[in-house]
Point group: C2
Chain length 144, copies 2
DNA sequence: GTCAGATCATTTGCATACAAACAAACGAGG
DNA sequence: CCTCGTTTGTTTGTATGCAAATGATCTGAC
């Protein structure tokens, strides 16, 4: 008889999935900053890319589509508004809503940075070969 | 002759690895909050777990070991100090350094929450079967 | 020994994040 | 038509997260 199974492994921070996730996110953010950091932040880009994808929407809905809560999307929208990348219109059907839409300048910005955005995604998974990449994305999607 | 390869896929936010990474991190944070949110934040836990692992260290070094920059670890350390989970001693060999160490209360806190911390890591990868989990961790580590 | 370059800790400024609380407006059921 | 339970947008407060600048200190090359 040994003490097998009675002894638990130590809790090593480096081995915890949450910690590794954080480091990978940090690396992704660094890649983003290197390519587009002069021009825009990751969250502001996400909001504009989604707006470009789906067209005008309410602020809260845009937040839900970009995984930002109401308080967070408010700040992001305010900063995009200040730069005149987006504009608002009142909704005739719902007095609470403000429709958010890309301005011409905002649309031009998205198109100009389209390739860089693709490249950031590619760089992020560059350490993986194509098969590994497919597997990784598939498993990652199961965890969201 | 067709136009194959001339047409690029659209940039869909949902498909970008950075966006999925963010959602998985959000889910992990939610699991953390559900289990330990009343007691501590993820970053404060990371700092204490690392201190428990390696013993007393300087603030900057602790930051490096927990993937926090100097400004971030400062705030985390201040809040842990206020709760008296950690304490500081001056370093006889280097007047710039302040050695940070767990207090008895801090050490007791870590031990008390050890199991919950393990459980959070397990829950995070629960949607994967054991083989998938091994593969996922292995690939994730290649991206950090 | 001294001095330039590195390290440690701190501070400021800006940009997320999210819980909690609110007022205004909507919508369905009675 | 009224009311109760949502939804929308906003604000406040706390906690990261990181760039950049600063002052104090250390360290290695000369």
């Amino acid at each position: 008889m040994t003490t097998q199974k009675l002894m638990k492994d130590s809790y090593l921070l480096e081995e915890q999935v949450g910690f590794i996730l954080r480091q990978v996110s940090q690396r992704h953010a660094a890649l983003f900053m290197a390519r587009m950091g002069e021009d825009i932040t990751p969250m502001q880009w996400a909001a504009m890319a989604k707006l470009h994808e789906v067209g005008p929407t309410s602020q809260n809905l845009l937040g839900r589509m970009t995984a930002m809560d109401a308080a967070t999307i408010k700040g992001v929208a305010d900063r995009l508004m200040k730069r005149e990348f987006i504009g608002t219109t009142s909704d005739a059907l719902d007095a609470r809503r403000r429709l958010i839409a890309l301005t011409d300048e905002g649309r031009a910005f998205v198109l100009k940075h389209y390739d860089a955005a693709f490249e950031i995604s590619r760089e992020t998974v560059a350490p993986l070969d194509p098969d590994e990449c497919k597997t990784f994305i598939r498993l990652l999607e199961k965890l969201r």
